[in-house]
Amino acid sequence: MSITRSEGCAVAPARPAWQYLGAGAAAVGAWWLLYQQLEVLAGYLTYELLGLGRETHLGSSVAFFLFEVPKVLMLLVLVVFGIGIVRSHFTPERTRRLLAGRREATGNVLAALLGVVTPFCSCSAVPLFIGFVEAGIPLGVTLSFLIAAPMVNEVALVLLFGLFGARVALLYLGTGLLIATVAGWVIGRLHMERHVEEWVYSVRIGEASGESGFMTGAERLRYAAQAARAIVGKVWPFVVAGIAVGAGIHGYAPEGLLASIMGKGAWWSVPAAVLLGVPMYSNAAGIVPVVQALIEKGAALGTALAFMMAVIALSLPEMVILRRVLKGRLIATFAAVVATGILLVGWLFNLLL
C-alpha cells in the first residue's frame, strides 16, 4: 500500500522553517487558484467539449458531477491535512492529562472538544477508555469524548461545507458537540459506574516510557500528509459514488419529489430517519452527497442531518468493541441517549430553518 511508504525526500531533518512556510503558502495559493476555476472548467468540459445541452437532464447531471467531484476532493485534502497538523499536537496521553481532575459539566464540554482534535480510531477505543477511567476521569466525561470523536467528523464537515455552505457545516459542528456534551453529562447523572466491566477497574497502567509524543515540524508535516493520503485514499471512491448518485438525482428526479415523505410537515420522518440510520454503517463521505440530493428534492434539512448523524455516530462495530469494557445496560443507555439527542437536533433544525 502506498500509504505506508513515506517518500525519501521528506527525511532530511534540519531544513529551516521558512522553507516549509514558503512551500506551504505556495501550495495553498496554487490550490486556491485551481479551486476558483473548477466551475468554469466543469461547464467548459460539459457544454463545449462534450457538447451536451445546457437545459438537458444529462448535461445538468454531468456538469454537476464534474464540478462537485474535484471540488469536494480538493477541500478534503486541504482540511484533512490541516486537521492532521492540529492532531499532531494532541496525543491521547495529553488529552488524558487535560481531562484528569475535571468535574462534570466543564469536563463534558472539554471532552467533547478534545474528541474532535485528538487522533482517534475506533480500534483504540478500549485502551483509551481504560486509560481515562484509570486516571479518575468520570464515566460521563469519558463518554462525551467517545461520542464526539466519531460524531464530529472532519470528512462530514468538509462535505457539508462544500455542498451546503458554512452555515450548515457550523450547525453540524455545534450540534454535534452539544449532543456529545449533554449525552455524556446525562449518562454521568445516571451513575452507571457499576455497568462497566469489573476488570477495567483493576487494570494498572504503566508509566508512559520513551518520547512517543514529541514531533519536529517536519514530522508534523509528514504526519499530516500521511493522514491526508490515508483518509482521502480511503474515502474517494465513496465520494465519487455518492456524488454520482447525487448527480443522477440532481438531473432527473423532479423537484419536490420527497417533500411529502421527508419534508418539514412529516414530524415522524425524523425518528424514522434515526431508526434507519443507527444500524447502517457507512462513512460520512458516502452519505453526505446522497443527503444533499435528498434535500434538493424536498427533504427537510433536519431530517437529512439526523439520518447522517445516526449513521456515523452510532455504529454496530463500535458497540461491539465497546462491549468489551461496558455491560449491555450501559451500551443500550449510551445508544438510546445519543439517538435521543440526534432526534431532538433533527426536530430543532426542521423547526428553525
Partner: protein, 78 residues
C-alpha cells in the same frame, strides 16, 4: 534487540507488524519481533493509542502507522 508491536489486532496493527518485519530484514538487524495483543499488557506500557512500537521495553511510537523507513530510523539502522 527486542521489538514489540502493541495492538489489539486491527488492520493498522497488522500493517505496522509487517512494516517492522520488512525494516528489520531490509536492514539485516539481529532483532526479535513480537506482537503484544493483550489489552492489559498494552496498557502496562502506558500506551492508550494503538498501534504502538516498543524497543527493549521502551515505547518509541504510539498511535501512528510507521513506514518501514521510519522504523529503520528508530532502530538506528538508516
Amino acid at each position: 534487540m527486542k521489538v514489540q508491536i502493541l495492538g489489539t489486532g486491527c488492520a493498522k496493527c497488522r500493517q505496522l507488524y509487517a512494516n517492522a518485519d520488512q525494516a528489520i530484514k531490509a536492514a539485516g538487524l539481529d532483532a526479535e519481533l513480537e506482537k503484544v495483543e493483550k489489552i492489559q499488557e498494552i496498557l502496562a506500557f502506558g500506551v492508550m493509542a494503538t498501534p504502538a512500537l516498543a524497543v527493549d521495553g521502551k515505547v518509541k511510537s504510539a498511535g501512528r502507522l510507521l513506514s518501514a523507513d521510519e522504523i529503520k530510523r528508530i532502530l538506528g539502522a538508516a
